[in-house]
Symmetry: C2
Subunit: 514 residues, 2 copies
Amino acid sequence: MNGAETLVKTLLKSDVDVCFANPGTSEMHFVAALDQHPDMRCILCLFEGGATGAADGYFRMKQEVATTLLHLGPGLGNGIANLHNAGKARSGIVNIVGDHADYHLKYDSPLRGNLDGISGSISHWTRRAADAASVAEDGAAAVQAARAQGGQIATLILPANTAWDEANGPAEPMAPAPLKRPSNEEIVSVAQALGEPGAVLFVGQGGLHGKLAQLAGQIAAKSGCELMADFLVSRIERGCGAVDLIRLKYPIVENVELMRHVRHLVLCGANRPVAFFAYPDKPGTPEPADCRITELCGPDMDYGWTLQAIADELGVGPSDRPALVPLDLPTTPTGGLTLEKTGAALAALLPDNAIVVDESVTSSPPLLSATNTARRQTWLHVTGGAIGLGLPCASGAALACPDQKTVCLTGDGSAMYTLQSLWTMARENLDVVTIVFANRGYQILHGELANVGAGQAGRNAARMFDVEDPTLDWVALAKGHGVAAARVTDMDGFVAALRKGLATTDPYLIEVIC
Amino acid sequence: MNGAETLVKTLLKSDVDVCFANPGTSEMHFVAALDQHPDMRCILCLFEGGATGAADGYFRMKQEVATTLLHLGPGLGNGIANLHNAGKARSGIVNIVGDHADYHLKYDSPLRGNLDGISGSISHWTRRAADAASVAEDGAAAVQAARAQGGQIATLILPANTAWDEANGPAEPMAPAPLKRPSNEEIVSVAQALGEPGAVLFVGQGGLHGKLAQLAGQIAAKSGCELMADFLVSRIERGCGAVDLIRLKYPIVENVELMRHVRHLVLCGANRPVAFFAYPDKPGTPEPADCRITELCGPDMDYGWTLQAIADELGVGPSDRPALVPLDLPTTPTGGLTLEKTGAALAALLPDNAIVVDESVTSSPPLLSATNTARRQTWLHVTGGAIGLGLPCASGAALACPDQKTVCLTGDGSAMYTLQSLWTMARENLDVVTIVFANRGYQILHGELANVGAGQAGRNAARMFDVEDPTLDWVALAKGHGVAAARVTDMDGFVAALRKGLATTDPYLIEVIC
């Protein structure tokens, strides 16, 4: 049994059974080992950003680590942007990156580069396998690292000879270290503080969906505090039956307004909210100057235990019911197409339990607003602000949850980054409706040019903001990747296309000219 | 005048006047400064790998540094693979990468990451601008670094406040340090050695085209040595009138045969040839065990001076004529489509002075072979082995040389990495014919699986090697990006499509089903 085979066996023993792959020569023995283990599901991505973004979406929906299989430094480099997003989401991912046989690294071969440096710049944990005998344990340690601290990027560099040399056998799974918890004194103090005027429980990560979100809602009901959450959260339950809370927005000036009354911000599962960018003459943080901030529990800590401990301290019981979002469905709009009406159509038609991946950037606010009281939905956001996450993340989420409908909302500019994921959706028959808001450019940058005080776009700027001349044809792009598509220019067209996309379980793309 | 404007002025003063851009908010003041300077040509790329690959192609053809404009760590990350190729080609590139305002970096904002680490892993030179007053000098130093040692990757990190704060004015251009040269003793020794049996002058970089290639040919004619060059060279002149030399190939076993008679390998402008990958039971280097290797002059040294010094030492004169490739054009083939016949059609129809970017991987050998005695051509190869260079590099080369026809030969797997460059070709009306050899997958990996001794592909492997189910539709993909295209399945179709593509100056794509 060679090193590669012990690694695959170890991953499977560790309950890691999905591999988003784009291999090359240096990974061939790992590929051969995968051939011997059909219980490891291999998903080919035609670009590495598609693999890393899919692993992110998979973890967010399933809370299980997937592997990626990447080819040396350039392969890992191509995956960096979505690893950045995954890291901010605290998604656990194991990257298996092949390298030259160690004895070949003394030569300046074409693909030799600073793979360790690239990995170190983006991974929480990097290890270079020393020899075939240790590869299995390295694999178990990589999974352990990926599961640690709520989820991490772990990269195992696999020199080709460590894959093909003889090894002993698989390693046993290794449990991650227990998560850090706040002290009892901190719990007691916070539980008391949440009852004071202007107190906000600022929740993140797993506290935004499922039982923990309900628990956070009960804490708010019992204590009288407000619940808030950040803008680009990794996963949040919305719509009917979801816990009602205040979401921050993209513009810092709007968040300053939203937080004007806040006296004490208690962070649980979340980092301190900050401005997305610094702007001249605008604040970097939204809370008032005299607002107290208690960093009770970071996203890398045990926020589940922490929320329960606060609830216990407050004596929360079944009668403390969280404020829940009611169901209030609009009728499907007709006539000319607007983002507001597009949002209403989404709200009217989204099925219960849909997953919505939102990379629609400037188009997002009216869509978010319109779907607030629609059926129950789970939204995934671009946590790290690196565009090109939408299509890959949607494919990973759909793979994780084949019984739920996934809808990917994306700008045309962002979708272009990783459009190759459309092919993976087609090959794997993923149940994803992709809605491309084709506003023909990076429209956010027109606003940002003004926001930073640099005025209006002239010719050079407009040529860099506007994706026109020629316009992209998303129906053709989808067809090229094997995905059926429609272009719509009015609400009747959008509603018909959305109904069609929601009715099929094949991937479908709608280009919205807006 | 703010920092950004002093930087743009400095770049222009340093004769850097092309910017391959994909900016975001942190680069808005730089964009505004570009607006004030229309003499800086801005080329929008819809993915950063398109920008870095284009800058590589631009440098290879024009020997002039271009800038890229990228957005924080993820933007630079997306450009890594083609920066890797550019670094191996020794192409000079200045990356301008925006970052948060320095006072905002204390917050964990979505886009904050290890930008310096990412840059350090791929750049020869990295500097973070300290303040607006120093930005101009930083820019001049970046250009100097990009021009040093034959060409380097220089990355200037530009915190937003260093762009928008007031500054003084542009900086003066800075000349790079002189290139290192071999000693006179080494020249004398090598000049003598080249006359001995089994001596090979192994040439790289600028020694493979133009006057220096002719000079190398004269040295060979005078001394009696053989001329050889590596497989993945950055730029080489081929066809009628080019200096005749022996090119290495991809498979190490073939190179062992090609070098079996070599007794002394003198490197000039080239690194030592090595196997692309290590394979079990195959050698890592091609030369015989008793072959002497003289590392006379690396690709980062003054190979122009070195070749001239050898020629002077040998007393090379006008009567020492290099062996040149004759013109021998085939007729255009008909009937069923094969790679050999496709190569013959290329050879018959390629116009004089065409630029050929070759990323056709497994399809390449018969195309190279068939075009050996065609009209004069310049070929650019994937120097770093990171696929996804072809389309970007072709767009940069075409932009650098608008009066020459550029032909991009690419596999379907490699073209998918950076297909967004098709849009840039359309927008800039670049004179590029892209020929996609649609063999429906990463066909090289079937061979590599066997080469590393891992046997035949089973189901998991085949699903990762074959881009089928669904097949990609390259005519639709091209149309989606605004590029006209044709699909061909026989030689008459290919010849007609190639004639059409060569006749127009608009970009055109041919999907060859092979």
